[in-house]
């Protein structure tokens, strides 16, 4: 891999954008590590799961199924549903990585997280230089991977030492809030967020957390509709 100036420049810009919000990843990782140990998995199994799966929602969602000895197909289906939102993110990021080799696209795809997409998505779609885009995407994503696995390591080996009533997992929610606030400065974005948020709340009764996926689709549709309505009104 040639570290040419455009790659380094992109990497620097990506890390600068990613760094502050990435703090919220650590408590989540620690909590995930603790959760895996708490259902009776040993250290090796917990670390193995994290290295292979690398998806907090799917990992946490699968734990009750693993604990209760559910059939493998059900675990697979649950994982698919909990990861479904990434198909949308993948479609949005794909044009930015078109120029890369298949191996790089597979690695880049595996490393695509909520945080990376939320923080890096917009600039990825706007930037013209494919080398700059690759640096801007892959370096923060690798940094996020290292951060996540380190947090899991702390959680897995320190499971007995963290008091539960500190609610450290709330730092994950704070990180999500910090990401969403600057996004919703335009009217259609605010509509998308409100519909997505309220939708998830109202549809939470759907099986396998499908409500989360449905709410995201509703939010996208509402934002898009608001944009059209907004521009139509501006034109008349």
């Amino acid at each position: 891999m040639a570290f040419n100036p455009a790659f380094k420049d992109g990497a620097r810009a990506g890390l600068r954008a990613f760094m502050p919000v990435s703090v919220g990843v650590v408590p989540w990782a620690i909590v995930t590590g603790i959760a895996m140990r708490s259902i009776g998995m040993d250290e090796m199994q917990s670390l193995g799961m994290s290295l292979l799966v690398y998806a907090a929602t799917a990992q946490l969602g699968a734990l009750p199924l693993i604990a209760s000895g559910a059939p493998l197909w059900l675990i697979f289906v649950t994982g698919m549903v909990l990861n479904l939102r990434f198909v949308i993110f993948s479609a949005a990021v794909a044009p930015a990585l078109h120029a890369q080799s298949l191996a790089r696209r597979i690695i880049g795809g595996f490393l695509l997280t909520d945080t990376a997409f939320a923080i890096l998505g917009q600039k990825l779609a706007e930037a013209h230089d494919p080398v700059w885009r690759w640096g801007y995407y892959i370096v923060p994503s690798l940094y996020g991977w290292v951060l996540w696995q380190s947090g899991v390591l702390v959680g897995v080996f320190g499971a007995g030492f963290f008091p539960r009533d500190w609610s450290l997992e709330f730092m994950g929610t704070i990180a999500l809030l910090i990401m969403v606030v600057p996004m919703v400065r335009s009217r259609p974005m605010l509509v998308a967020a409100l519909v997505g948020g309220c939708g998830a709340l109202l549809l939470r009764g759907m099986p396998l957390r499908l409500g989360l996926f449905a709410a995201i689709l509703l939010g996208i549709a509402a934002g898009f509709a608001a944009e059209h309505w907004h521009s139509k009104r501006a034109n008349t």
Partner: protein
């Protein structure tokens, strides 16, 4: 609990779900280019997805809607701070501070 080889089989299946969903359009590449209108609509995906993860967490206490709770109070404080200042650490300090204070004060 699922044991031994079957546990690792479950991990591999879950790893597949990560790879298949996240990889989907990125791996397909050039051949899977979406229409411009879909890509424009997808600009709303991050805001919708983030809000869909946040709102239930702020409003639900043990599975039912509780409009007055410490997480919502802390969340509102985080939004206020994030709107006013650009400091990246301040929201974390404020949010956790408000959460612990509200809990200590007896709020659910």
């Amino acid at each position: 609990m699922i044991e031994g080889v079957w546990l690792w089989a479950a991990f591999v299946l879950l790893a597949l779900t990560t790879l298949v969903t996240r990889g989907s359009f990125i791996v397909i590449g050039e051949r899977g280019r979406l229409p411009a209108v879909v890509l424009r609509a997808l600009r709303y995906a991050p805001a919708a997805a983030l809000a869909a993860l946040i709102v239930p967490d702020l409003l639900l206490v043990q599975g039912s809607v509780a409009p007055f709770n410490s997480k919502l109070l802390a969340g509102l404080a985080v939004i206020a701070v994030a709107l006013k200042w650009r400091n990246p650490w301040l929201p974390f300090l404020t949010g956790m501070g408000v959460l612990w204070t509200a809990r200590w004060g007896g709020l659910a």
